[in-house]
Symmetry: C2
Subunit: 361 residues, 2 copies
DNA sequence: CTGAAAGCGCTAACAT
DNA sequence: ATGTTAGCGCTTTCAG
């Protein structure tokens, strides 16, 4: 026999009795209803504070049809990204008194949508945040919409109406990277793409090539390798690119994992980075500062996106339509470190590189 | 005005009516009560299946005083570790129909315990899993116990009764590492410790030194540097160790982040790893295979620990005492990669290293 | 502005 | 083995 649980014995009835009003009135002050007299409110609030009364969320939820639970749906190999989002989401959750229930899933599964809906229904979630790359799944989004579940998607493009998406402008970010490399004097630039079929993969690729084209760079089509956003695939693609004749003088991998793989591939071939070939990534993951040379990359404002998405979601739940509808677009930022350098410096660099290295910013 | 929510319209009463029994009976088959006739059970179950009826967790929780929500409390800079645990926990949660609510917190905060308790109470959690290093906080554990919250701690030592902890035997793991390095011929071995005040820090340090002592290695006290489990602190400590005369021929850093820092420190000083100095880490994080040389390290069975902890927690919640009380100890495993090598090979290695490298396992 | 009463959907004594 | 009857703790018509 378990001892009776000591948690939260006091109920709204206690408060009502002790403050000499009805439950209804207590409920009103609890929900900040405007129609309670100032005096009554204070009187009730005092009792609430004294008894440290916290309303029972289950009961409240059952009666009011809301749970004060938000869900986070994701299928992402990148734990760092998830963690970052989670912290952003939670910071806003705390502000508004919500809790967060997590739901990792398998994007490839054909029961993905059904399971996600079951998850939301079962837990009576008030709303969900969907992370990339599952966020690109229109099927899922459609099902959520049809089920009247408030949701917000994190994405690289505006793939839904403004109330359902927070986007980081990856196209312009990779364009900035392309321009940066061109400015360094690079013309033969390799590209390690993500797997086909993802919108963000295409977005990054197109943004990059477009920017190159604008600068009169020959089309990079032949120098595009298709990876899988994994370290190992980066190695393979990097090797393939570097074995071309002539090899590229710079390689942009569309995430840091693959960029790390490219660097290792180069080093395995006896090439030095960045002296012989510049390498850049995307994500600004922890990896970027841990490897040598430290990695030039692109940083998305992940936590901020998560915060804004959550605020937007709660606004939708609370019916604050104006706020919920506001379009949100954020710009990633180019982070220059040691893995890229001007092309013309290549020749002179051999000596200099023996001396010492810059600190990874 | 929001449209009425389409989710889960059918209730237990519908099922009762349609299958011609009372609500109580439906409730019984829902909860797998043994005292329902086989025929009735089938009849009811059929209706349940046909209507795809899912009981409302809030209502169920309100009535039964359980929420089918588990909590995960952590304060850990290592997102990979958290993610791994989370996946382990969730795999068991799914099996038993639980959901997971996350609660990152600040171990240094003096409201840590109060906030954790508030979190549990508010969400009416059925139990919580506490991750290291917060899991070492006896204050928190005590408060959970006093509040009758079932909890299980993940830890490096048995810091609680068997029903409240799942431990990975880190002492024996680091001992194995020490023996491995000694077998390689190393005698001057540096140690990069974690911050003071953590039990796992001491556990690893003592286990390592003890094993060295057993092999007649001179006490390593002078060669112990105190880091902070961060990459940067690993660099600093590594530099300090390598500037000693004579320098250590091997360095064990008590996590991978710091080991990566040590390697960079060595490389910055013009030393080669492992030719000039062997370096090993602890965690087998993603980093271990991404950096060059790939890192010899120690792998804890994190996901398995998480699974077992969750199973134990649910056993406790369900009152299966025998299972809940079972002591669980798991052994980490030594993972040998490219960052360590025999001492005597140092001289001959210079030529060989130019040729090529082994693949990171 | 406030109160009485009726649920929200489920479980849990206590019969039968 | 099954049904009856109360609640769980809160919100919400609907009167006053």
């Amino acid at each position: 026999m378990k001892a009776p649980n000591k948690r939260s014995a006091t109920t709204i009835s206690d408060i009502a009795r002790l403050s000499g009003v009805s439950k209804r009135t207590v409920s009103r002050v609890l929900n900040h209803s405007p129609k309670v007299g100032g005096e009554t409110r204070d009187k009730v609030q005092k009792v609430i504070d004294e008894l440290r009364f916290k309303p029972n969320l289950q009961a409240r939820g059952l009666a009011a049809r809301r749970s004060y639970f938000l869900g986070m749906i994701y299928d992402n190999p990148d734990a760092l990204y998830i963690d970052e989002v989670q912290r952003g989401v939670l910071s806003v959750c705390r502000e508004f008194g919500y809790e967060l229930v997590v739901h990792p899933c398998d994007r490839a599964s054909d029961t993905l949508t059904a399971e996600a809906i079951a998850f939301v229904d079962r837990s009576k979630l008030d709303g969900v945040i969907v992370l990339p790359p599952v966020s690109e799944d229109n099927d899922l989004a459609g099902a959520l919409g049809k089920d009247d579940v408030p949701y917000v998607r994190l994405a690289a493009i505006a793939l839904d109406t403004a109330d359902h998406v927070v986007v980081s402008n990856e196209r312009s970010a990779v364009a900035a990277m392309a321009e940066y490399l061109v400015e360094l004097g690079h013309r033969r630039i390799g590209y390690v793409a993500g797997p086909e079929g993802r919108k963000s993969t295409r977005e990054r690729l197109e943004g990059f090539c477009e920017a190159l084209a604008k600068h009169g760079c020959s089309p990079c089509e032949e120098m595009i390798q298709r990876g899988a956003y994994s370290f190992e695939s980066g190695r393979v693609c990097g090797k393939a690119l570097l074995e071309m004749t002539p090899p590229p003088t710079a390689i942009f991998a569309s995430n840091d994992e693959m960029a790390a793989g490219v660097i290792v591939a180069a080093q395995d071939m006896g090439l030095r980075v960045p002296e012989d070939v510049s390498v850049a990534g995307f994500d600004d993951s922890a990896l970027a500062t841990r490897i040598r040379p430290s990695l030039t990359t692109i940083r998305r404002p992940v936590r901020e996106m998560a915060r804004l998405a959550t605020a937007k979601l709660i606004a939708a739940i609370d019916g604050r339509e104006a706020e919920a509808r506001m379009g949100i677009f954020l710009d990633p930022e180019l982070v220059v470190r040691d893995s890229t350098r001007p092309l013309r410096a290549a020749a002179e660099s051999r000596k200099a590189s023996a001396q010492g290295r810059r600190k990874g910013s």
